[in-house]
């Protein structure tokens, strides 16, 4: 193993980080065919996050360890992983949360593994394409008040880390990817449906190919969201109500039709 010299390319222990101690990181190494966790010792300085440790390993021990990242500031949603059993962002998970423990870093579980910590999330991009885009009646500028956009803005905080997709049992355990778009795209649809200027109708999509009915409101998605979006409470439940109105309540359905002319 290479000598762990002080090379702060990966923002690892540097001068000033006096009380650097070692921790053990157990990282999944492998690809779609096979793999196992491998243990590494990493020097840890104050405030270091899991991503720093992985970078330190790449720079000093094994430059072939694959992981995705971009911003290292919890903005881009690239670095999702399973850290000691909890799905989270590697750049937002502090190592000092795990003092005295081995830190197990594994790829997200629901998506096929490409290599090490990198998974194939391309399915999400295919789903995104199936959702009818924002369709305003006229071009901007719009008059919209803050209260009209508050809810949409909540959903638009989404950084597409796909952690919610990763924990949703419909997608994970019942290989429901052909039946359900998953929580990320429920908030996408909710955002569009609740946009004051949108004229499109995605309710049939929700009830059909979108698979909203498969969600049984376990709220696991909401719990892992690093952006604290109330996925189930503010998006899925209202969408379910909307779909139920349309499909199960013929009188309201008629009423709605007449209203919208």
């Amino acid at each position: 193993m290479a000598q762990p010299q002080t090379m702060d390319q990966a923002a690892a222990p540097e001068a000033g980080a006096q009380q650097a101690t070692d921790m053990t990181l157990s990282v999944f190494r492998g690809d779609a065919t096979a793999g196992e966790e491998r243990e590494y010792r990493v020097p840890v300085g104050p405030g270091m996050v899991v991503l720093d440790a992985v970078h330190w390993l790449q720079a000093n021990v094994d430059s072939t360890i694959a992981c995705r990242w971009n911003c290292k500031a919890a903005r881009c949603g690239s670095c999702s992983a399973d850290i000691n059993g909890h799905p989270g962002l590697m750049c937002k998970t502090r190592l000092d949360d795990f003092v005295g423990q081995v830190v197990h870093v594994r790829p997200m579980r629901t998506f096929p593994i490409i290599k090490d910590l990198v998974t194939d999330v391309s399915w999400n991009y295919k789903v995104a394409k199936q959702i009818q885009p924002f369709t305003p009646a006229q071009p901007a500028p719009f008059v919209m008040y803050q209260r009209d956009v508050d809810r949409g803005q909540e959903f638009r905080r989404c950084i597409e880390c796909f952690l919610c997709q990763n924990v949703c049992h419909v997608l994970r355990e019942h290989s429901g990817m052909d039946r359900y778009f998953g929580p990320r795209f429920m908030i996408k649809i909710a955002e569009l449906e609740m946009h004051p200027m949108d004229t499109a109708d995605r309710v049939d999509l929700l009830a059909g190919g979108g698979g909203l009915g498969f969600c049984n409101i376990t709220k696991c998605c909401q719990e892992v969201c690093p952006e604290h979006i109330h996925i189930t409470d503010n998006a899925i439940i209202p969408l379910k109500e909307r779909t139920a109105d349309r499909y199960w309540d013929p009188i309201r359905r008629l009423f709605r039709r007449r209203r919208t002319g």
Partner: protein, 594 residues
């Protein structure tokens, strides 16, 4: 189809866009009309580009909160901040078109913060005369990229994600396409194209203390230079005054200017609000070069904070306000630094933020000197001069992304046949890209990256002088030698060591360009502060330094800055910004803040 040593998959397009940040996506949307076939190539997944990190806002003089604002004032602020080496025509087009580009985002689904009247809200920002930055809390870049991403996927554009371009191909003088590799497999891809739009962003990763994402290694600028494009104003590198300082792992992460825009004040270790000593008129909202230098000077004078910065304090705005207007900042400090910014002041220090220099581009079409090659966004040069105004980058991406895309489309439609590709050139490039695998016990790419960052921090920082710049250049040249012997191990599948090896080659080239420009510009102007030439000199205000390739040698030449026509020059006749004399006293420069 096989070419030489390694299989390669081939594609054909009319317009190829390199980059899926704001500029690349807007260019692709602009190009994909009239049946023109467009592909976008990006190093990361779609929607993850560096642009996603932008926080404070997008500058556009729509006058929603300060009706006296208008394009003339935005133009005026942009030229003044750029210390007049910007291309005036680029700045004029920019200021005139920015509002429409922001409205267009709204038409495509963006949800900006609103004024009480239901219009797009605008916040004050450093050196903008009026409140001008349209924003969504402190996550404006995310809003911009998501809007363009979801517009783009319905425009019939092919998107190659996690694919790195390594070279532009040429047919004589003309651009003919590009070659690259897929990160997942390491396989080569080749795109023949009639026109190429370069939108690959900046190179903030050549510094260690940086706010930039990993992608900012300047690939596009380096690739363009190797294809004989001209690089301009490379010495102009922006230090953002406020990056995080402590703990070490977060050093450099941005603290948005929005904190000061929303009323945050800077104080030194002695508790003095020191900006009153440097720019009493604009205080914390002075231009970035001034604020960054002021913090630097305070630290040099021994009045720095425990970890070598200044205190930033916004507690007086109250917890509710801070959490609503700056939610990411609140979260970022709480999570990464155990600091609650609603309760306590925090340390900040300058961090590398933006590269004003880049590929010289035409104001109207974004065309470069290489026929068929267009450049937009941070990789391009012309708009910002010696110092970029906050918020001007996001509108730059929109205005010139669109122009580059549309110009590339028109250019492509004017060509009847695809330019030819030289298989020999392709084979040489494949050899170059794969070389690190053949080197045994070679140089460690991460080590070289760390060393080049060290050199840049030491010799091309905020304060520069001739002797130190020369020493830095010598060190970079020595690192370039060593980079020829970089070795990597493992397979071509998703191999970060290999990727870094290629990035380092690009970064070293741009480091050289930064040093050469900084040495030649024997004056202080905007972001360039030469302690051995502390004054801004009229003669240097009339030229841009341009670097170009001569075989394997980098050469430097100058172009004259084109003079403004009389009606624009007249805007600068008095010291008062246009619109200000008649403006109600609400803008920051009008003394409307405490």
């Amino acid at each position: 189809m096989e070419t030489g040593m390694d299989s390669i998959e081939r594609f054909e397009y009319d317009v190829l866009v390199l980059g899926a940040g704001g500029a690349g996506l807007r260019a692709a949307i602009g190009a994909a009309q009239d049946g023109v076939r467009v592909a976008v190539i990006c190093k990361s997944l779609l929607g993850k580009a560096h642009t996603v990190m932008a926080e404070g806002g997008v500058a556009a003089a729509m006058g929603n909160v300060d009706p006296a604002d208008g394009w003339q004032t935005h133009f005026y602020d942009t030229m003044r901040s750029g210390h007049f080496i910007n291309n005036y025509r680029t700045a004029e087009i920019f200021a005139k078109e920015a509002p429409d580009r922001v409205f267009e985002l709204e038409s495509w689904g963006a949800l900006f913060d609103r004024t009480p009247e239901g219009k797009i809200m605008q916040r004050p920002f450093g050196a903008h005369t009026f409140r001008r930055l349209c924003h969504v809390g402190d996550r404006t870049g995310l809003e911009l990229i998501r809007t363009l991403q979801y517009k783009g996927i319905h425009c019939g554009i092919d998107i190659f994600q996690e694919v790195t371009t390594t070279r532009l191909l040429k047919d004589g003088e003309r651009v003919a396409g590009a070659i690259g590799y897929e990160r997942e497999s390491g396989r080569f891809l080749l795109w023949r194209a009639k026109a190429v739009v370069l939108a690959t962003g900046g190179w903030g990763k050549v510094y260690k203390v940086t706010s930039n994402s990993w992608e900012s290694t300047g690939d596009g600028a380096a690739i363009a230079y190797r294809a004989d494009a001209e690089l301009q104003d490379m010495e102009m590198v922006q230090f953002h005054p406020t990056g995080m300082v402590w703990p070490p792992g977060v050093r450099g992460i941005l603290v948005t200017e929005g904190v000061r825009g929303e009323g945050g004040i800077l104080v030194n270790a002695e508790g003095r609000r020191f900006m009153q000593d440097y720019d009493p008129k604009r205080m914390e909202l002075s231009s970035r070069d001034v604020v960054a230098r002021s913090i630097h000077k305070e630290v040099q004078a021994g009045r720095g904070t425990p970890h070598g910065g200044a205190w930033l304090d916004i507690t007086h705005r109250g917890a509710e306000f801070i959490r609503r207007k700056l939610p990411n900042m609140y979260d970022q400090f709480l999570h990464l630094a155990d600091i609650d910014i609603t309760k306590t002041k925090f340390e900040v220090a300058p961090t590398i933020h933006y590269t004003m220099g880049g590929v010289r581009a035409d104001p109207e079409t974004c065309a470069t000197n290489v026929p068929g090659l267009f450049a937009a966004g941070e990789v391009a040069c012309g708009l910002h001069g010696a110092n970029r105004l906050g918020g001007n980058s996001l509108s730059d991406l929109l205005v010139f992304g669109r122009r580059a895309g549309e110009a590339a489309r028109e250019y492509a439609m004017g060509l009847t046949v695809l330019p030819g590709v030289d298989d020999g050139e392709v084979r040489l490039e494949q050899e170059r890209v794969l070389r690190p695998f053949a080197v045994e016990a070679g140089e460690n790419p991460y080590q070289l990256h760390a060393e080049l960052q060290q050199v840049m921090g030491e010799h091309a920082g905020i304060a520069r002088d001739g002797a130190s710049l020369q020493a830095g250049l010598d060190k970079i040249m020595a690192l370039q030698e060593r980079a020829g012997r970089i070795g990597v191990s493992g397979s071509r599948m998703y191999n970060p060591g290999w990727h870094t090896a290629l990035d380092v080659g690009n970064m070293l080239l741009l480091c050289e360009a930064i040093f050469r420009g900084a040495l030649a510009r024997e004056e202080s102007r905007g972001a360039q502060w030469r302690t051995d030439h502390p004054d801004e000199l009229e003669d240097f205000g009339r030229i841009n330094f341009v670097e170009y390739r001569d075989g394997d040698t980098m050469r430097l030449k100058t172009y004259p800055v084109s003079p403004m026509p009389p009606e624009l020059a007249a805007l600068f006749a008095s010291d008062v910004a246009p619109g200000l004399a008649t403006a109600p006293a609400v803008g920051p420069a009008a003394g409307g803040r405490e």
